[in-house]
């Protein structure tokens, strides 16, 4: 019985105009997004290699350390190929870091970046899936039950010895098969074109990560499909189903993920930068005043210097504490926003897909920590080494050894850790899918087919 119903659902879907439009949209948007993003990545990769080799050539030509110090030490990060699938915070994680005596550590960025990229969202696969595919999924099934009631085919089907659960299941399976196949075909073709025409090179673990992104995409599609089905079982008319479906989509995809960070900021406010600067100033004044009060005319220069150093250390300790408190509160705010936003399957999908791509919140915080702690230390150590090497060598001959310069390579999360980090979102997507299905199931058992 179920196979007859599933076969009919799939055939009915495939023969519909709606499926033709959906498939075309999937193909154009997902395939197109893959090709465009791969081309963009290809260019970024070429730029990276060109800039790195130009920098090395330049350093090779330097005659002494002073020139090197003046020029600064720049290290570049290789672009992440998985950003093709989920750009996430990749653009916010700088691809270069420069350290010079004059300006200290500077995270790169160009003043000539196209502002439109910041103004509009990047059309990566995750964006297309999150916004467009979810809309198409919900529109694919919004009238699966209410529309059949209007067409009176529901009555005719149920006048046979057909269990309602089998009928609902067939609608789920039929919808899932059609949408998931469209998605996978579009993604596969896009990936193939990107591989063939843009020499996209991926490591085996990156293929696993792509598998993770595909998995969460399919779960996300399922969640919206079940939501559409649930809405369809709650209404008697397809027009009403359509309105409610669109409303639900707007709330879940556009409303919650965009509003929650603002709400979290209100619920857990952070001190303003002006207030932070004021507190820093107060700490400095307090500690140095204390030191000044302890100083007397009969103190030796060494004693004064010791008091000054003590004050400087105290300032540094308190500043670090202040900074640490701020960072903790900031992270609490981020965590609160993440927890609240998980009410939306769209947010769960974004967190999980970017976690697999290495462009998510964890990757970003790891990146910031790497730049400001690990890499700064590495940089300083390298500068010291280069300086020593320069001093010991005769000026002009091998003063700067390019090979000794640090490589800017933030630690990538292991696939296991990415999976662990995204487990909660995968679980929630499964939960939403199950919840909406159960809702549809309960509603459909008592659905008035008359």
């Amino acid at each position: 019985m179920l196979s007859v119903l599933v076969k009919k659902e799939i055939l009915n879907n495939i023969l519909s105009f709606r499926f033709a439009v959906t498939f075309l949209m999937f193909f154009l948007l997902i395939g197109g997004s893959m090709v465009m993003m791969a081309a963009n990545h290809d260019k970024q990769r070429r730029d990276y290699y060109n800039a790195t080799s130009a920098y090395r050539e330049r350093v090779d030509q330097m005659r002494d350390f002073n020139e090197f110090e003046l020029f600064g030490m720049t290290s570049r990060r290789e672009p992440n190929p998985l950003s093709i699938f989920a750009m996430g915070l990749e653009a916010d994680m700088s691809r270069s870091v420069t350290n010079s005596e004059m300006q200290g550590l500077q995270v790169g960025g160009t003043p000539y970046a196209n502002p439109l990229f910041a103004l509009f969202s990047t059309p990566d696969v995750a964006y297309v899936v999150s916004i467009i595919v979810s809309l198409l999924a919900i529109l694919f099934v919004f009238d699966a039950v209410s529309g059949e009631k209007e067409e009176e085919t529901l009555k005719l089907v149920l006048s046979n010895s057909v269990p309602r659960d089998a009928l609902l299941m067939s609608k789920c399976i039929g919808g899932l098969v059609c949408l998931c196949m469209s998605f996978l075909i579009s993604l596969g073709v896009g990936l193939l074109i990107a591989r063939v025409s843009m020499s996209l090179v991926l490591a085996p673990t990156q293929w696993l990560r792509i598998g993770g992104i595909v998995l969460v995409s399919l779960l996300y599609i399922s969640a919206f499909l079940m939501l559409g089905l649930f809405i369809s079982t709650c209404t008697q008319r397809s027009g009403t189903s359509l309105m409610i479906s669109l409303l639900a989509w707007v709330v879940l995809v556009l409303g919650i993920p965009n509003l929650v960070p603002v709400v979290a900021r209100q619920m857990m406010p952070l001190p303003s930068m002006a207030r932070m600067e004021g507190e820093e100033e107060a700490i400095r004044n307090e500690e140095y005043d204390k030191a000044r009060q302890k100083m007397s005319r009969d103190m030796s220069r060494e004693q004064r210097s010791a008091l000054y150093n003590e004050a400087r250390r105290a300032v540094q300790t308190r500043m670090e504490l202040l900074q640490s408190n701020y960072e903790n509160r900031f992270m609490q705010q981020v965590s609160l926003a993440m927890v609240m936003s998980r009410v939306s399957p769209s947010a769960c999908f974004t967190y999980a897909s970017t976690a697999f791509a290495g462009t998510g919140v964890d990757a970003y915080t790891g990146f910031v920590r790497y730049v400001h702690l690990d890499f700064r230390r590495l940089f300083e150590q390298s500068l010291h080494d280069v300086r020593e090497a320069s001093r010991s060598a005769r000026a002009g001959v091998g003063a700067v050894d390019v090979k000794r310069l640090p490589v800017f390579a933030p630690k990538e999360q292991t696939i296991q850790l990415s999976l662990k980090k995204s487990l909660i979102d995968i679980g929630l997507l499964c939960g939403y899918t199950t919840l909406f299905f159960l809702g549809a199931f309960i509603r459909f058992l008592r659905y008035d087919v008359k």
């Binding site: 023969l15 519909s16 009176e152 005719l156 006048s159 046979n160 010895s161």
Partner: protein
């Protein structure tokens, strides 16, 4: 055989749609239930199909209680609605194939499908056409073809002749007569008094949820009852005066 025993349905808003209905349709019999809109015909049909839970009473199809064992009962019944829409993306043959398989039949040959489609009067060039371009009459024929393919003992027809042209109507009645010959128990609701008179073995007149009067083919023929006159009289005079209404309508049959 279809049996309806003391069937009542009161909706949540208090409306009594069907009131203590008792009815039996034997194999090889066509029972036509006449009634105005809101008389309770469709509610009765929905109770028989298990789509509406009766407040009291029961319906049995081939002895199987619809309320207790709806899936088993539905194996023995075929239903044709007033507006047969079916699946517009499918061809006539694809629709027939789906509903035939849904009825539990396997290994049905293409010839059998074509034979049934031809039998219900569908033009051969329409067999493989998508239903989106079908007229109401063509859909109605296909609905009957689906009912035939199910090979059910009981056939329920909800206003099946509405919207049919005269030729289609005649062909439809001939088809029903054939099904009766095959031993099907046919229960049909209708507004169409003239077609009811032509085909029915018994006619029931329903108003406000109550079966006011049932008249047999023999009574209609013997007393030359004008069915339309009888219908109006019965509705006007109500249950208690139904016999008087029959008397008033006798001798003027058309």
């Amino acid at each position: 055989m279809l049996e309806i025993v003391d069937l009542s349905k009161r909706y949540d808003n208090g409306v009594l749609a069907v009131d203590k209905l008792n009815l039996t349709v034997q194999p090889g019999e066509i029972f036509v239930m006449l009634g105005a809109n809101g008389a309770g015909k469709t509610t009765t049909m929905m109770c028989v199909l298990g789509f509406t839970e009766p407040t009291e009473g029961t319906a049995r199809i081939m002895g199987v209680d619809v309320g207790k064992n709806p899936l088993e009962a539905k194996k023995h019944v075929a239903y044709v609605s007033e507006n047969v829409r079916l699946y517009g993306n499918f061809t006539a043959k694809q629709n027939l194939d789906f509903f035939t398989h849904l009825a539990g039949r396997k290994h049905v040959s293409n010839e059998e499908y074509e034979e049934v489609l031809a039998r219900v009067g569908l033009e051969r060039d329409a067999f493989n056409r998508r239903l989106k371009g079908f007229s109401k009459g063509m859909r109605q024929r296909l609905g009957i073809a689906i009912a035939i393919m199910k090979q059910a003992e009981v056939i329920l027809l909800d206003e099946p002749t509405s919207g049919l042209d005269p030729k289609g109507g005649v062909e439809f009645l001939n088809l029903l007569a054939e099904l009766r010959e095959e031993g099907k128990a046919i229960f049909m609701t209708s507004h169409d008094i003239f077609r009811a008179r032509e085909i029915a073995d018994r006619v029931g007149i329903m108003s406000n949820g109550r079966m006011l009067h049932v008249i047999t083919r023999e009574e209609i023929d013997a007393q030359e009852v004008d069915l339309s006159h009888l219908y109006i009289k019965v509705i006007e005079m109500g249950l208690r005066n139904a016999d008087a209404a029959v008397e008033a309508s006798s001798g003027s049959g058309s």
